[in-house]
Structure formats: structure tokens, C-alpha cells
């Protein structure tokens, strides 16, 4: 249990390291009742965005997916809770496989919720980089299902 509070604690050291890591001239962070302002001496260009990281980023473990997604791909997430099926029926081939190029509106999978089979369609076309969930596995809302590389 001792871990459940861990992610949140900010220390001035963390903020200073952030400033150093991104070679900032100045960094000012105000969060959780604390304000820290760092002014560094020989610093080059400032990379503001990374400084803007909100405390919530510390409490939620950024999934590997997010990292990959940064590398030019997007994740397709489960729009509902249920059981994930890659094909319309056990004997049928999967709707899509890794490497497939898909068109917007194409069916990617089925999520069964309350005995209803809900077809999940692609919101945009691209190439399936990765299928993140095994067939017949339960999925929760917002769970990443596919990694997609959008068409340029």
C-alpha cells in the first residue's frame, strides 16, 4: 500500500533538474501550493512546453503507447467497455492485421457489450502498426487497441 501516494510529491530538486535537463535560462513552476523559480547562468534557448508539465502527469504513468504515438503514430482507443474481438466470428479471418493499410470507415474490430456486438470503425485511414490487445480480451474505456500510422 505504501506506494499509492508516491507519484505526487514535487521537490524543488525535480524542478531544477528539469531546468538543467532542458537547458532552460529560466523556469518557474507553480503547483500544489508551491512556487519554484529557477534562473540559470550560461543557458541557451528555453524549451517552454516541457516546463508546462502539470502535476497530474506525475500521478498518471505515461504509457509506452503515448511514447510510440509521439513517433508519428496515433492510438485507436476502445470507445466502450466490453470484450474485444478481432474477427466477426471465431472461424472468420481478423478484420485487420499488422501491416494492413486501411481506409477511413473500415471496421477494425468488434467490442461485445451486454450481448451486443459493436463494430468499431476507423476514424481515419492509415497503416496498422500494431494490434495492442489479444482476441477475446476484456477492454476498458479508453484502452488503446491499435497503433495507426496515418496516411500522409
Amino acid at each position: 500500500m505504501a506506494g499509492i501516494l508516491a507519484p505526487r510529491r514535487w521537490t524543488p530538486a525535480e524542478i531544477v533538474e528539469l531546468a538543467v535537463a532542458h537547458d532552460l535560462a529560466e523556469l518557474e513552476v507553480e503547483a500544489g501550493g508551491m512556487r519554484v523559480r529557477v534562473v540559470r547562468r550560461h543557458a541557451e534557448a528555453a524549451a517552454r512546453p516541457s516546463a508546462a508539465a502539470p502535476p497530474t502527469a506525475l500521478t498518471q504513468p505515461a504509457p509506452a503507447v503515448a511514447a510510440e504515438a509521439a513517433a508519428g503514430t496515433v492510438t485507436i482507443e476502445a470507445p466502450m467497455v466490453g470484450t474485444f474481438y478481432r474477427s466477426p466470428s471465431p472461424e472468420a479471418p481478423p478484420f485487420v492485421s499488422e501491416g494492413d493499410t486501411i481506409k477511413e470507415g473500415q471496421t477494425l474490430c468488434v467490442i461485445e457489450a451486454m450481448k451486443l456486438m459493436n463494430e468499431i470503425d476507423a476514424k481515419l485511414g492509415g497503416r496498422i502498426v500494431k494490434v495492442l490487445v489479444d482476441n477475446a480480451q476484456p477492454v476498458q474505456f479508453g484502452q488503446p487497441l491499435f497503433l495507426l500510422e496515418p496516411l500522409k
Binding site: 499509492i4 500544489g32 501550493g33 508551491m34 502535476p55 500521478t59 466502450m80 467497455v81 457489450a113 479508453g142
Partner: protein, 444 residues
Amino acid sequence: MFHKILIANRGEIALRILRSCREMGIRTVVAHSQADTGSLPVRLADESICIGPAEARASYLNIPSIISAASITDSEAIHPGYGLLSENAAFAEICRACGITFIGPSPEAIRLMGDKAQAREMAKQAGAPVVPGSTGPLEGVDEAQALADKMGYPVVVKAASGGGGRGMRVVRSREMLARAFATCQSEAAQAFGSSELYLEKFVEETRHVEVQVLGDRNGIRVHLGERDCSVQRRYQKLLEESPASAISEATREGLCKAALAVANAVNYVSAGTVEFLVERSGEFYFIEMNTRIQVEHPVTEMVTGIDLVREQVRIAAGEPLGYKQSAIRVSGHALECRINAEDPEHFVPSPGTVTAWLPPGGHGVRVDSHMMPGASVPPYYDSLIAKIIVHGRDRAEAIARMQRALGETVVEGVRTTIPFHQKLLADPVFVSGEYALPRLEVGL
């Protein structure tokens, strides 16, 4: 007994339910919205599952999502807590249809008590006094006017399926009736999907006293004494206590007897609360029955020693109560303060991140809260962040203890109603425990 229960709620009550389950050796699944992913109940649960985005409509009120969450996690039962889906008869029916135990009364009881006019009739037949008023839904404003003229003003117009003061207007003269009627109709339509209204005599000065009842599947029913919840602001309770200090022993007995009569009339199963208005004279009237666990249930637990959530779970699993009325003893006095993340003057919600949290402790103090350093208080849900409950040998000791507890409580990052509670507890009228209520409360 169940092996796994899905908790379809959030905040302190999700944690409250989780605690009883853990003590009973039952695994818990906390179904949560994306806004509550980092919350304490989710962190403490054996399993958790995200059922939708922050907005309650798409998550905590999303029946298909919750039912499939229960089925993919192999949960045998769902505890709805309070609010949200706890008094939704359709949800209880769907649970039943899907072979999942709804921890609460039958859909029929929920539906019946959810219809104010029907409930009123039922209570009347059961012998519980009700406020004079229309026997059923009003045909139209003319019927309302005729009835009001006959009973005399002031009267109150209420939505049949209303609650929490919405779809409700006090009318003091014939002229005002027509407009009030129209307003309530539209409010009721959009708030509850039904524009049925009824009319009642308005009782000017009242105490709000409710009786806790428990019933098992074998028809054994007991009451666990009463709670005084008169300190309210816009129909929102702010402080509750048990026993009620402002009523006579005779009134107390009358209330408990009437409450059991109502519960028996609907073959009530699980925990429920029968609410009454009590006049200075001791006259009392049935208002409604809440077919769920209530926010203020801990004051009853403090004076009876009975874990109400545990009883709900046991009853839902088909276990007999195992004790009779005579076995229930109320000892000492308990108070509960609802600490909301609101500014203490105007009660404007104050969502944000709790940067520091230190709950009170020591003899006779209980805290039910999902707060922790770093906890977020999202703007999407009610602003209750903690319930501070105290027990004392008498009311004076309980009040002193509550003042001590509030004084050592630390909450930083959001504003809270603690200063209001401190003012209330210091008010001589409140301290006297007489029938009259502190001006403070009226002044809100």
C-alpha cells in the same frame, strides 16, 4: 456470500463500500470515470475498470458500460452507493435480467417510492400521517387552485418524481400559484422527464427527522433509530445527528413505528430511510422513503455499532438479519459534518488539487474520506470531500469533540465548509438542541 462486488460509485462512498467488502473478505472492482483514475478508491481496489469519460452521464450513469464492466470482471453483485444509479429502478431491473445482484431493494420498491404521489398514498394506507394535499397527480392548474383554496395557503407544488428541491415551489397566495405551477412543470419535465405535479399544505416551521430501517429477505425488519437532518441549505444537508435532540420520546416512538409500517407495506428489503417533517407540536408527516444507503448513515453506525453497508451486502446475499428489534441499542450521541470543497460563505464549489491533507484523529472521531495529498477534486461531481463523524457520551461531549476535530483538520488547495461548521457548532441555539434552528442556517 459474494466473491466479488463491483462498486458503481466514486469518492468517499466508493471507499466506504470497499472497506466493508474487504473486512468481509469480498474482492472489489471499482468502476470509475477517466477523471477518477488516480483516486484513492481506485488505488485501494482489488481491481478497477474505466467505464467512461469524466461526465457522469457517459460513465457513472452509463448503464451498458457498468453492466459490461461487471460481466467482464465476473462481479456477482453491484453496489450503487448513493445518488447516481442508486435509485434507478430500470438499472436494478437490468441487473436482475443480467443475473447480477443489485445491492439494494427490489426494482418495484424503488419505483413505487420514486413516485412521490404513489409513495404518499401508500404511506397513508400504512397509517403514516402525510401532509394534507392532492391524492394523485394534478390534472392542471385549476385543480391545484381549487385544492389550495380549500386547504388554505401557503402550499407547496412538487414534481411527482422530484427530489433535492428541484421542481418545487412554495406558494403563499392564489395569484402566485399559476406561475409556480408552470415553472415546476417545465423544471420537472427537463429534470426528471415527467411533468406530473402534486400539491401539499406547506408546513412553516419543521424539523427534518428520518428513521433508518433494515429488512431482510425473510421479512424481518428493524429500525435503527432516527437522525435529525434539519441543518440544510437549499435542501442540501450539512450536519446530521443521532439521536434527535429536539423531539420527545413519544414522538421518537411514533416516528419509528410509522417508519416500520411504511417499510412493511412495501415488503422492504435492504437498508432504507423514511423521512418525516416534525412540527414543534410533535405532529409529524411522512415525506418520502429513500431506497438507498444515505450519506449520513455513519451517525447511525456510531450509536448502534452496526455496519450498515455490511448489512446491505449480507441481506443482498440472502443472509438473515440474525437479530430482532430488542437487540438494537442506541448509546451516546453522534454528529456528522459534511465537509464540502466549497467556499464557506456562499457555498460556491472550489474544485482543484488537495495539496495537503491531515484528517483529525483520537478518541471518538471517525473520518470517511477519499482525500490524500495530491487528490484531485474534479468539477464534474458533488463537492463532498470528507465526512467527519464523532461519538460522545452525550450531545455536549459530541459537540466539543467535533469542534476539536474540525480545529485540527488540515485541507490545503481547495476551500472547505469547515469554517461554516465551526460557526454552526458554536451557535447557542444549535448547542441548546431545542426545536428552533440557528438563524445561521436560515441565513444561508
